[in-house]
Homo-oligomer: 174 residues x 2
């Protein structure tokens, strides 16, 4: 049994912008970017980061890394949207994970000043953005990679419910 010697300290993350989408609540949101075909949103970057967007036009997709700020507390075992069995959270894309980080390869429609117009969106409105990275098939695309329990399942048409959500304000419904 190897000794565990982990020197780990917390770190402060500063969101670099906000993601605007049509989805106020998890319920009814596509569960993955790939299943959110055509649904548009806007990434609003803090203006001081705009120079970093240079050369992004020409990429068909970009990764967004974001903070799923309305996800419920971490669960290490979850029942994911696409399954009826419980799974380890790291074998899923469930929001109720340590650090609540989300990852989506959205389609890039345009870049104007500090705003990206995006499509294929599966993200809640107002979600804090942590990073944007160009999607590069040579780095990111592994078409044939075995996908464990996801094999044979299809996200198309699967919509989220509120199982992983907190902070829904019922007086906000009208």
């Amino acid at each position: 049994m190897g000794q565990t010697r982990l020197a780990i300290s917390s770190c402060l993350i500063n969101p670099i912008g906000v993601i605007h989408t049509p989805f106020k609540y998890a319920e009814g949101t596509p569960i993955q970017a790939a299943a959110g075909k055509g649904i548009q949103g806007v990434v609003e970057l803090l203006p001081q980061f705009s120079p970093g967007l240079q050369d992004l036009v020409g990429f068909e997709r970009t990764w967004l890394i974001y903070l799923m700020d309305r996800a419920s507390a971490m669960q290490l075992i979850v029942c994911p949207y696409m399954d009826t069995e419980e799974r380890g959270v790291f074998a899923t894309r469930s929001p109720s994970r340590p650090n609540h980080m989300g990852l989506s390869a959205v389609r890039l429609l345009g870049v104007e000043e500090n705003r990206l117009t995006i499509a294929d969106v599966d993200i809640l409105d107002g979600t804090p953005l942590l990073d944007i990275k160009a999607y590069v098939p040579a780095f990111d695309s592994f078409e044939q990679a075995h996908a464990g329990w996801y094999t044979g399942k299809c996200a198309t048409g699967v919509l989220a419910d509120n199982r992983f959500e907190v902070g829904r304000l019922d007086n906000d419904q009208d």
Copy 2:
């Protein structure tokens, strides 16, 4: 000109483990997981997160999201390893980005208790781990996506130098 009304607050992130690799310094490290073919490493998760690894066996690849803790301060314009021209940082995978987050689709060789054996590694030894996500081709693979300035360039055989690195301790060389 739309009003910018961004309510953004910092958040504290707690690493969930550490990534062990053969690479002590950026210099000589493969610049992408896809270019680090065969090079092995170990992900050591804090033991309390081990139950979340259930069902990960069977996935050929997993995403690691990590903190590039030795990257130099953010630069919005960088000259990436694979180019001779300056590019906006969000159109690259340069470590010197806001929040210093790294993203790699590594090959999963095995899971034992709180340890993953991985291959195709492009990460520095001791890197703090923020998240593990199953790689699902239906969500993550866009084989034909246009890749802007990366088009026609190849990462294979390209190794990093120290242009994006700080904190190299010269007395640590022996």
